[in-house]
């Protein structure tokens, strides 16, 4: 992401932007994995991390790992920087919106 002009704040916006983008990535990953598990038997079977809970255990565990890993990497890269928060927030909100949409079963059935 491009480095933007700094604000009047003593804190840079990089840390906040990292958390926001990671939350968007995590939400989208969860929805994509849920959708893939619903459509593909091999993915569904590979997502059974805890048998009593079934594929939901793998979908959520994998999504949480992706979310935290993304957050950690972005925090490490951006924490002291001022980044293009507008564009990053927009990307995060699109990912969140897609994530919300892809958890709705009638939308999943379109694929």
């Amino acid at each position: 992401m491009n480095v933007a002009n700094s604000t009047a704040s003593p804190l840079t916006n990089g840390s906040g932007a990292a958390a926001i983008l990671a939350a968007g990535v995590g939400s989208f990953t969860l929805a994509v994995l849920a959708c893939a598990g619903d459509k593909l038997a091999t993915v569904k079977n590979s997502l059974v991390f805890y048998k009593p809970t079934g594929p939901l255990s793998g979908v959520t565990t994998a999504a949480i790992l992706v979310w935290l890993l993304t957050w950690g990497i972005l925090e490490w890269r951006w924490r002291k920087r001022t980044v293009a928060a507008g564009r990053i927030s927009a990307i995060a909100l699109v990912l969140l919106g897609l994530g919300l949409l892809l958890t709705f079963p009638p939308v999943v059935d379109l694929f």
Binding site: S9, L96, F104
Partner: protein
């Protein structure tokens, strides 16, 4: 007066964590909006800011407790498969819902939606709490971050609302039953 252990867990999950989280959401949204807008009329004190940070952290705990108890305590009881030849399905909520065209939608739409959308709530509110704790009142100076935080908080509320509604309706048509009976009160005949 008694309650089955599985019913008690459902209460803890839905009423204890889920409903409390939903109640907390409205307060959090109002406070976040007030704190993050730049109006000088509502200048917050450090005490109020500290209170909101603790409030948001409590919401994070409630949200994670709700999804974790839902997925790892109640959901296995919900999706349990009946042994071959089982006639009564009351102990197998998923199969009970799927056994009738009048209720199958509560599984194929209600539970399928709830079990995934609910997780957007803890992910979103964890981020909201982190950003607010990190920036506090200074978030007023970061307009784009502020807008994203408020939107994620709103989506967290919506996701929890969908999960709560579907959960309540599923529990109405096919409650999770069984487990040890817990005596709450010894009733007396009047």
């Amino acid at each position: 007066m008694e309650i089955a252990a599985r019913g008690l867990w459902t209460l803890i999950h839905g009423m204890g964590f889920g409903a409390l989280y939903l109640l907390a959401c409205s307060g959090a949204l109002a406070e976040l909006y007030r704190f993050t807008t730049s109006s000088q009329l509502y200048e917050s004190t450090p005490g109020q800011e500290r209170f909101l940070k603790i409030y948001l952290l409590t919401m994070v705990i409630l949200a994670w407790a709700a999804v974790l108890t839902g997925a790892y305590v109640i959901y296995p009881w919900y999706r349990a498969a009946p042994p071959p030849g089982t006639v009564g399905l009351s102990m197998f909520p998923q199969r009970l819902l799927m056994s009738s065209p009048a209720t199958i939608g509560w599984h194929s739409l209600g539970m399928e939606w709830k079990e995934h959308v609910a997780w957007l709530a803890p992910i979103s509110i964890t981020m909201v709490a982190f950003v607010f704790i990190k920036y506090g009142r200074d978030i007023k100076n970061h307009r784009q971050l502020r807008a994203a935080v408020l939107t994620f908080a709103m989506v967290s509320f919506v996701a929890a609302g969908i999960a709560g509604f579907c959960g309540a309706m599923i529990n109405k048509y096919a409650p999770v039953q069984g487990g040890a009976m817990i005596q709450l009160n010894h009733g007396e005949e009047k």
